[in-house]
Symmetry: C2
Subunit: 224 residues, 2 copies
Amino acid sequence: MRSDAEDLTTRARIRDAAIRHFGRDGFARATIRDVAAAAGVSPGLVIHHFGTKAGLRDACDQHVLAQTATQGREKADPRSTGHLIQDYLNHPDQYTDEITYIRRTLSDESEAGDAFFDAVVRQTEDIVRAGMDAGTIRKFDDVRSTAVVIASNSLSILMLGRHLSRTLGTAGPETHGIGPDLLRQLALPALEIYTHGFYTDSQFLDAARDALQQNTNPGREHAP
Amino acid sequence: MRSDAEDLTTRARIRDAAIRHFGRDGFARATIRDVAAAAGVSPGLVIHHFGTKAGLRDACDQHVLAQTATQGREKADPRSTGHLIQDYLNHPDQYTDEITYIRRTLSDESEAGDAFFDAVVRQTEDIVRAGMDAGTIRKFDDVRSTAVVIASNSLSILMLGRHLSRTLGTAGPETHGIGPDLLRQLALPALEIYTHGFYTDSQFLDAARDALQQNTNPGREHAP
DNA sequence: GTCTATATAATGATAGAC
DNA sequence: GTCTATCATTATATAGAC
């Protein structure tokens, strides 16, 4: 969908250049001059189209999040570890700018990042509930918190991708290190933990339960 | 150890103010004038003590990371989910600036952040190996990748704390939402997953194993 | 729509008095 | 050690020609 050719309006070309620079350098460090140069236009034209630098970011937010929200809706079936992220990485080097931009959006404080995170949690919660009904996912008392944990774990690849690939030696510096090699290497350990657990017994869980003996309803338990 | 009083050298007071502002606003957005005002000194004095803005950041890096590295060494015993982070949160509202600063350091590209992440992974790997030997942690083929997954999951609370507390409604805006309430709410779901797993059977793990049938050594398996 | 100036403001860093 | 100017640079945003 994104071709590097000139088959885009100038406004769209500026916006895409801004997505790249805002994601890579951050909103504060990225300058209108950089964006204009990358888009092959003058700085004045950037302002002409988007009013202010903040207006340009708003356009980027709307474009990236509208794009991801659309794709997220269609692919809400229960998958393995990274529910949403995996799908994006099926097309390597295609959505790198968007991924980097989303990472920045989640790091910095912004309403767009809040909305994106909430959407991820919401879809994860739907998946968890569906899996619990279908019997493929274990029963959890606090479904929402469980979904938050799963979403947080999944998004950690997005947030820390640069460090993960750096430590594991997998390539892909383009999108902060998040590439097929990295996911391949992390998929099995993550799925083993999600399938058989990480600990051998429940001593740590029991200890935590004892430590948090408040508001506990002793009537309901789920199979060990 | 950190008292808000004036019992610090002026240089240390400037440095602490810089840690707060760099962490909160980011290195680019934070200004020397802001730091100077927060420390109650003139902008010129900041330069006098640290040479340049980058020099000030280096001093912050060294201070925060030296501090965390020291504390990390002493507490390398196998704990529950957030191995290192939990310990920091035993003293609420005490290390909020340092935590925020570390989060920023991990987000932005910096050698200090790289070193910190590597240290976390290294300690996690030690814990995993020790747990595997002691029998409290399951046997994993790829110990390093497993440690990376665990460390990534743990650090996701640090990276996404603001969103987690926002979604779950737990308080604590001071340190990007990471507080005792948040950890209490996430501890049980996380430990349940780490103890009993997330899925009910191994269909997803098996599917992933089949999809990655390369370099597989069919001679070694671990108990299902 | 697009460009070339230019106004205006903010910032990092310097110089020198105290 | 600390301050008050001040410089030089850089950035956003404006104005108006084409």
